[in-house]
Symmetry: C2
Subunit: 129 residues, 2 copies
């Protein structure tokens, strides 16, 4: 594993919009904006059980997350990661914690169908602004 | 091809930061923030000839671009696309046009090694904010 680039950790700690790439069963890439949480070791994402990204991850657990600095768009962190667990989130507790982290006050109509995608970074690449 | 979601075209017209996903030769996904240009039919990106993303695309021409609305982060457009051409950009003319589009006044040290990645969307998915 490449060493963690600690001078870029703010991009995982701040509630920024990440972009999570997965690979579809046909081998083509997919990418969508995602909220995330970082505990210093693992990345966590919330997802409904119905959507395509989860099917992609069940097929291939390798993912990639990019987060850029909105104040300096050329400064970014990319991590490649492997999904270790997909954990049920009954009641959407983790999802609600993400809503609080991101200051979101909108609806969460599908909170009862939520899972937590837990991913361990295995490599990093960065670019400075 | 899924129909173009015209009510989301502003996300391609505005100079926003896109995230372009590719697939590495080992099958894992990669994603980085990218400038882009949209002419109503094709997406164009600038890239140096040295970097990994170009090697990924030469191996598998399927890519995916996500652009979200910075004012409404839940509103986004994802397109799957196929790279049709990789065109040399001697002198970096296209790269300089992207710099103007994005109001960038920083350095462009590698402008002599630039290529244009030309991608045709083949499917779209959207989410509203």
């Amino acid at each position: 594993m490449s060493e963690f680039p600690s001078e870029f950790e703010d991009l995982l700690v701040r509630p920024l919009i990440g972009h999570l790439a997965t690979v579809r069963p046909d081998g083509a890439p997919a990418v969508t904006p995602m909220w995330y949480a970082w505990d210093g070791e693992l990345l966590r994402f919330s997802h409904t059980t119905r959507r395509r990204k989860l099917r992609n991850i069940e097929h291939d657990r390798r993912v990639s997350l990019a987060v850029h600095d909105p104040e300096k768009p050329h400064r970014y962190l990319q991590t490649r990661a492997v999904v270790e667990e997909i954990v049920v989130d009954p009641g959407g507790d983790f999802y609600h914690s993400l809503q609080r982290r991101y200051g979101w006050h909108g609806p969460a109509p599908d909170s009862t169908e939520r899972v937590i995608i837990v991913a361990r970074p295995v490599a990093y690449s960065v670019q400075n602004g």
